[in-house]
């Protein structure tokens, strides 16, 4: 790790193919800045992404990275961190990737509390498949596949995370570059699973959850004297359907991550040239 890493060192030479104005630009910039600010560099960082617009992030960043299959980014990140705890692991996905096909993994990743960061680019729509309802789409949000709206409650990812005993639950807005970066940075620094749901507007297909909408409505928890270590207060914010919040909603400062609980502190890449020294003990057990 070198101290003179700049966030641009995390940029690849590939130009993003996201639509001009896409919220994902800001989300990614904040991730890169957070990584650089916390003293990481591309060679000790592993970024995992799933499928969709968010999934392209590994291509636009420069680090060790894997772009996987739809909805399965979190288990990959868990495997990476288990095998080499020295790596900074950041997983990124979208609302479809994370809360629909990957919802099961999300809940289990939260309760597993591996020391890693999960950033979800939530634009409340499926962008890359050209505009269908996502799990976080509003109940009356009209799309080609839901002409009268989904007519079902949107997933509340923060509530899912709290119910699964999440140790760090936060929300940010990609266009508020400074706050977004700070919040992701806190997630990276957190000992455990740092989860950040990022409002990352889709300028092409979502004309409801727009930049203007979030700018006008978002409430910063820092201005509300919110105590993120107070679980009840966090629950009240999370269950408040009428307000969009940004900030760290809940943080368990006593959090002991899975890797620490299980004593995962060795780089598993290091193995002997032959069988382990005392491997004959394994045979002896069968006498």
């Amino acid at each position: 790790m070198s101290s003179d890493v700049r966030f641009t060192d995390f940029k690849s030479d590939k130009q993003p193919t996201w639509c001009p104005g896409c919220g994902d630009f800001g989300t990614m910039n904040g991730m890169m800045k957070a990584l650089a600010n916390t003293g990481n560099d591309p060679d000790n960082t592993f970024v995992v992404a799933g499928i969709g617009c968010s999934g392209k992030i590994g291509t636009y960043m420069h680090s060790y990275a894997l772009h996987g299959v739809h909805g399965r980014a979190l288990p990959v990140g868990i495997g990476v961190k288990s095998a080499n705890p020295d790596l900074e692991v950041m997983v990124s996905g979208g609302d479809g990737d994370g809360y629909s096909i990957g919802a099961g993994h999300f809940v289990h990743a939260v309760r597993r509390n591996m020391d890693m960061t999960y950033v979800v680019m939530d634009n409340r729509i499926y962008g890359l498949t050209k505009g269908q309802a996502s799990p976080t789409s509003r109940e009356d949000f009209e799309t080609a596949t839901t002409p009268d709206g989904p007519k079902q409650a949107p997933v509340n990812p923060l509530a899912l995370a709290l119910a699964a005993d999440g140790s760090f639950i936060a929300q940010s807005f990609s266009s508020d570059a400074q706050r977004h970066t700070e919040i992701v940075q806190q997630a990276v620094e957190h000992d455990g699973f740092g989860f950040v749901n990022v409002y990352s507007p889709c300028v092409t297909f979502n004309d409801v959850d727009t930049y203007d909408y979030f700018r006008d409505t978002i409430v910063d928890l820092d201005e509300e004297d919110h105590d993120p270590t107070d679980r009840d207060a966090a629950e009240a914010k999370i269950m408040d359907d009428d307000t969009e919040y940004q900030g760290v909603i809940y943080q368990d400062e006593e959090s002991v991550p899975y890797n620490e609980r299980h004593g995962l502190d060795e780089n598993m890449a290091d193995i002997p040239d032959g069988a382990p020294e005392d491997a004959t003990d394994l045979v002896r057990e069968f006498y």
Binding site: S12, D13, K14, P42, D43, N44, T45, F46, V47, V48, K56, G58, T59, H62, S63, Y64, A65, L66, H67, G68, V69, R72, P75, V76, G77, I78, G79, V80, K81, S82, A83, N84, D86, L87, G104, H105, H108, H262, G263, L264, E266, N267, M268, A269, I271, P272, D273, G274, A275, P276, A279, T280, L282, V283, R284, F286, Y287
Partner: protein, 588 residues
């Protein structure tokens, strides 16, 4: 009575059938006898017929046969289930004082041996020990010194304290004494020999787990499924001793993705499952291959399709393992044929995976997985384990694999198809990998030339491996025989013994047991040299036979079994004889 002793205990699931069988098998093994065990169980926790069979001899035993000499029957159904295998002189040990068995009468020609199992167990300290009383009785019937049980009882109950072990020893002796005192011992003339040999006793799942640790596997993720769970249970607690970790995933999709992540980070990684789990893993299997990640995926086959018969034997997944997944996926499919081969082929699977940066299917089947067998400990030679990590590039060598703008090229199209590999944390090696088609840097592309280059590169790895590795078979019987029999997986044991039965009938067989399904040995020459070719496998359609026909452009005969039960040696000999007789019939 022959030296070969066939013993079984049967009752309802939950009766402690497995642990009792295992104790007897271990006692025989410690007494220097060879052992082969098989289990018959249903997919339920309590109730339902279940049995544990032990075949034992001073010679090596490779399979089960259709014969039962001593049967401990805890229920009447146990006798009914095994009627075909019981013979004149078979001894049936049962509890004549228990309601389930009180009206029982031994079938004609067989010897019913009532032992008050429950009452004697209570006298020894608890009714739970009734099976141990039966074991003591069985020892006396077989003329097998009861002291041999003591060590196995210590192994089984040692954790629960010395008094529990002592009670069990007492229970066994009560059983023994009852047979000596109350019954006419002259009726039985079993007299099994013991030797000074030291054997180890283990099953295929355990051998896979042990092979994985020996090979440097450090990360295992899996989701419980019969009959692969024993691999995970074996590794849990043991892998950790070597700095590794076993993670029980939330599902098979998570399991393979976790293993992929760990492998990407540099750990030798494995996941194990059965057919339904392989289905779920199929999408990620393609990602493993495209991202060129070394990974061992173990499929312990059971009866399908769908949930099929989860606790029954079948070799029905071959087509899926060879062809499963969308698109064209380079892979290796390695299928060990014996318990000790499970150990060796697992080590080989890890080396193949890293050397060629390719997913490897390691294929077992239920019969191989759950059957314990004795071996000379030397067959699990840890000193012979070799680790080949392939083209792993460190910081010092990285310069030669950078492009003009100093970016590492993880998918460099080397002539042998194998690119350099850096592990995360290696300075200057940062790169991405993806399931999307990509260029040499791992960047997404749809350029036609690059697509062709990368597809060819990945497929070339298999071609390189075909040249560099030994894709051999194991040969038994008479190499000049006109009849050639081929099989894969667990059938090898039964086939080897069948050769002996056939020999007695003057039928010579050349038998090849094939442990590599892809790439596999070219059998054209062997098939052309034979008059008759028969492929033996536990499935209905003959998936391996199809493959052999395709490879060699020769029609083969098929012996298939798909009732959920493995082949037995005497049964195989009979079916081969029938096939040959049929072949000789001239149409009129």
């Amino acid at each position: 009575m022959p030296d070969d002793l066939n013993w079984a205990i049967g009752g309802e699931a939950g009766d402690g059938i497995n642990s009792t069988g295992k104790i007897f098998a271990q006692a025989l093994s410690r007494a220097g006898r060879h052992v082969f065990t098989s289990k018959d169980f249903a997919s339920r926790i309590r109730g339902g017929y279940t049995a544990y069979k032990v075949r034992s001899s001073t010679e090596r035993v490779e399979s089960v046969v259709d014969r039962l000499d001593i049967l401990i029957a805890l229920t009447q159904r146990t006798v009914e289930e095994n009627m075909d295998e019981l013979h004149e002189g078979s001894v049936i040990i049962y509890d004549g004082e228990r309601t389930m068995m009180e009206d029982f009468e031994a079938p004609e020609g067989m010897i019913g041996l009532p032992v008050p199992l429950k009452r004697l167990a209570e006298e020894a300290g608890g009714a739970l020990m009734q099976n141990i009383v039966a074991l003591g009785a069985a020892c006396e019937v077989a003329n097998f010194p009861i002291e041999n049980l003591d060590e196995a009882l210590e192994k089984r109950f040692g954790d629960k304290g010395e008094s529990i072990v002592e009670n069990n020893r007492q229970a066994a002796r009560f059983g023994e004494e009852h047979v000596v005192e109350e019954l006419d011992h002259d009726e039985f003339d079993y007299d099994i020999e013991t030797t000074d040999n030291d054997y180890v006793l283990l099953n295929g799942d355990e051998a896979i787990g042990m092979g994985a640790i020996a090979a440097g596997c450090r990360f295992y993720s899996g989701y419980p499924i019969t009959p692969a769970t024993d691999v995970m249970e074996y590794l849990k607690g043991r892998l950790e001793r070597y700095g590794g970790h076993v993670m029980q995933a939330e599902d098979e999709l998570a399991a393979i993705n976790m293993a992929l992540g760990a492998a990407r980070a540099g750990a030798r990684s494995m996941t194990a499952t059965s057919g339904p789990g392989i289905d779920l893993m199929a999408e990620t299997f393609g990602l493993v291959a495209t991202s060129e990640t070394p990974l061992v995926i173990c499929d312990v086959m059971r009866s399908g399709p769908s949930t099929g018969m989860p606790t029954k034997q079948e070799q029905g997944d071959l087509d899926m393992l060879l062809y499963g997944g969308h698109g064209e996926i380079p892979r290796f499919v390695v299928a060990p044929t014996t318990v000790s081969e499970c150990f060796h082929k697992t080590i080989e699977a890890f080396n193949l995976a890293e050397k060629y940066q390719t997913p490897v299917y390691l294929v077992g089947d239920l019969a191989l997985a759950v059957s314990e067998q004795t071996f000379e400990p030397e067959e699990f030679d840890m000193d012979s384990v070799e680790i080949d990590r392939g083209k792993l590039v460190d910081e010092n060598e990285i310069d030669s694999w950078l492009d003009d703008s100093d970016r590492f090229q993880p998918h460099f199209p080397a002539a042998d198809g194998i690119s350099p590999r850096t592990l995360p944390g290696t300075s200057g090696g940062a790169h991405m990998t993806t399931g999307l088609e990509h260029d040499e840097l791992g960047r997404r592309t749809e350029e036609q030339e690059v697509r062709i280059e990368q597809v060819d590169k990945r497929n070339q790895k298999v071609e390189t491996a075909k040249d560099e590795e030994d894709w051999d078979y194991r040969e038994f019987g008479d190499s000049d025989a006109d009849t050639l029999v081929l099989s894969w997986g667990s059938n090898e044991g039964a086939m080897r013994e069948a050769i002996g039965f056939l020999d007695e009938a003057d039928i010579d067989i050349r038998f090849l047991s094939v442990p590599y399904m892809f790439p596999r040995p070219d059998l054209t020459e062997e098939i052309e040299a034979a008059d008759e070719v028969i492929v033996v496998e536990c499935n209905a359609t003959g998936q391996f036979a199809d493959v052999v026909e395709g490879d060699t452009l020769t029609r083969v005969k098929r012996i298939n079994k798909y009732n959920g039960v493995r082949f037995k040696a005497d049964e195989l000999a009979e079916r081969i004889t029938e096939k040959l007789d049929a072949a000789q019939e001239v149409p009129t």
